[in-house]
Subunit: 315 residues, 2 copies
């Protein structure tokens, strides 16, 4: 089953305790697509400038990602400059050059319209909603957002949230969006705000999934007890080189696994949380997309097995 | 199998967003003993003053805890005053009155000498070592410590660590003790400093267990893959009333379960991490010891079952 992802395709200039990199390939859609490509067909909608060369596009196409929907326009690509020198857990933005991304109007190629899985990466919620409306037949819709949209574009964001089967955000964003101080209360409040389920990312502490009754109804239930919360750990990583894109890589692995299964059961959803963690933990081990480019499907399966052994008493 | 725990028996005056309590029963040995009492026989070595009344002792004895080793002396009991108003995740100490605890010299009753499981709660490492030496036949030794001893009594603490089969500390203490910035590297370094295994507490994010080869050799191995790390989640709690004693309650549940099983296999160790999480999550739901006093074994088993469902794909 095909996933359509809409989001940023960008260059990142990065500084971490492990070193510096100038203008490496990045962007939410890039990280998501690479991670999801290990599981299923992925189609990207984004915009890039003249500095986005065939060698950059090849990073995606060599993994089978369909880049027909990456629009090439005059000007420079989105360029983010960030530092993790103070805190590996939180990026400090040094400069953001939106460039061609400032006028991004997602255009969905005809050949993408049959995509059953839609992922709305972190972009203006107005654009997220437009894409969702342009894909009325998508059978599962997931999305991300960030503190900027929560703080300054809340009303638009709330409209997108009505459309989401899965909202994927981090722990701080849960507290900010819900205006709660406890993450469990916060997550439950967010489910009442629209999304049928919620996956909360906690970096090295893994992820937590929250399911509303509306999500349960959407899933093909096996004979199993109802669960409202599920947790998957992260693979412990001794050398975090570059956390950029970890969350998008999680989302790609999570959603890619779901799409690969064809039908969504609670067990598929839970297993997807583990595959997401696998992809996120791989992504941080090198700069930019380097690690996911070098990873094989066998590496992914090996790490999945280790993650089960790490967390299952008799796993 | 019996556990001997040595540590503080105290009164706590607490301020949290849920309210205030004056002089409620507390102390590491108290929380540990109550939690462990759900699984096995527990014997306490500690010291209290004249303000420690029969009604306080009854909190322990009513759960079957043997208090023969709680020495009653002239003066007042250890009294700690703390606030969680700024941050529920970290206690702010307002005042510490050591009182009779300042001159604590642990005395082990004759009837305790056959205890096979020894838990050295957070006290001066010099005392921890003395107790360990007084219990040469203990077949498993676990212990806790805190930032104060790590910073100012490191040399003594390192001697205790040589004696420990299990060191149980929190995530910040791992970084402080190991002088690392990454907790996985930190945990591995701590294993090289002496303890055969390490359990790291991450509050709402559960616990991580690290096993050295020396611990593996100490366990009765079943036919299973070797694991160097294991994680257990915490039960999500919507209303954390009072975090005081959560770590000691974890340790009590963890160690109590291990002692109850008679033999230590890797599966018993992993299961114990889940039971520890259960007891820690119960403890925070009311002030002081209130919740553990009101809990039944059926409550414990129910929450254990929920924690398995929360974390096991096919649990």
């Amino acid at each position: 089953m095909s996933i359509l992802v809409v989001g940023s395709v960008a260059f990142d200039s990065l500084e971490t305790p492990s070193g510096k990199r100038e203008r490496v390939l990045g962007g939410a859609a890039t990280h998501f697509a690479l991670a999801a490509s290990f599981f299923t067909d992925v189609r990207v909608v984004g915009v890039v400038g003249e500095d986005f060369l065939p060698e950059h596009e090849a990073v995606l196409t060599s993994k089978g990602v369909d880049t027909t929907g990456i629009e090439h326009v005059k000007g420079k690509s989105f360029h983010w400059t960030g530092s993790y020198m103070k805190d590996l857990a939180e990026a400090e933005t040094l400069a953001t050059f939106l460039n061609v991304f400032a006028d991004f109007e997602p255009k969905i190629p005809e050949s993408y319209l049959d995509s059953e899985y839609l992922f709305l990466a972190n972009i203006d919620p107005v654009l997220q909603l437009k894409v969702r409306q342009a894909m009325p037949n998508a059978k599962l819709v997931a999305g991300d957002t960030m503190n900027y949209w929560i703080a300054a574009h809340r009303e638009n964001l709330l409209k997108v949230m009505q459309e989401l089967d899965v909202l994927i955000i981090n722990g701080k964003e849960v507290l900010m969006l819900s205006e709660e101080t406890n993450w469990v209360r916060g997550a439950k409040k967010i489910l009442e705000m629209g999304p049928k389920s919620l996956v909360v990312k906690y970096a090295e502490h893994g992820v937590a999934g929250f399911f509303s009754d509306r999500m349960t109804e959407k899933m093909e239930l096996c004979d199993e007890p109802e669960r409202q919360i599920f947790r998957a750990p992260a693979t412990p990583v001794e050398n975090v080189v570059d956390p950029t894109g970890a969350g998008d890589s999680f989302a790609g692995g999570f959603y890619g696994y779901i799409a690969s299964q064809g039908k969504l059961t609670p067990e598929v959803y839970r297993t997807a949380m583990f595959y997401g963690s696998v992809m996120g933990s791989l992504a941080v081990q090198k700069f930019g997309t380097e690690q996911l480019q070098a990873t094989t499907k066998a590496d992914v399966e090996q790490r999945f097995k280790e993650l089960i052994e790490l967390s299952h008493i008799r796993g």
